[in-house]
Subunit: 116 residues, 2 copies
């Protein structure tokens, strides 16, 4: 049972413009750091840093290829994200019922005089 719990790091890693661009670039296939930097008009140190964060989040991984390191996407965290999203799917259908429940529940305890 691979704990497919959604890690906040994954969202944090994706929630940065350049990192998101990197991920979307790598969707078309693995690429070495230099090429990533060039295609996205980024400086090499920043590119390495972003890749490090993406790697620590489990979104990418590097394969040594001679002197270069070819980065590519890893599926696991994307799947976790998918699983997490799935947990919301039921909400869209059952929301109104739940809202109803909540509202009546709220009415039920209107006799709790509590100030703050």
């Amino acid at each position: 049972m691979s704990g497919a719990a959604l890690e906040l790091d994954v969202l944090v890693a994706l929630a940065e413009p350049n990192r998101l661009r990197i991920v979307e670039l790598l969707r078309d296939g693995g690429r070495p750091v230099g090429e990533i930097a060039e295609r996205l008009s980024l400086l090499q140190p920043q590119t390495s840093r972003h890749l490090r964060i993406l790697a620590e989040a489990g979104l990418v991984r590097a394969e040594r290829q001679a002197q270069s390191r070819v980065y590519h996407l890893l599926p696991e965290q994307f799947r976790s994200l998918e699983t997490w999203l799935d947990s919301f799917a039921q909400v869209w259908t059952s929301r109104f019922d739940r809202l109803d429940n909540y509202l009546s529940e709220l009415e039920t305890r209107t006799d709790a005089p509590d100030a703050r």
Copy 2:
């Protein structure tokens, strides 16, 4: 009808611990600000601010209910995120050969972190 393009704001909104907790709380149904704050041990102003960011990202919406505002999730951005994730689905299959290579290579150096 909706372009369903992934907005960075959505990821940014989700990539904050307390906002993620809010979203997950709202998965169980709409709730007024005060209750969200109480359940998550947040102060009310911060809660309102987080909800504002979530709302601007299109993730939640408030319904007036007497003096209170009941916030609930909205499906659209979650679906955009799902669509975006789907665009990666094909990557895992098309990369299967190389991933396979990678996995066996990884097994090879289970206790040799500096192998090669």
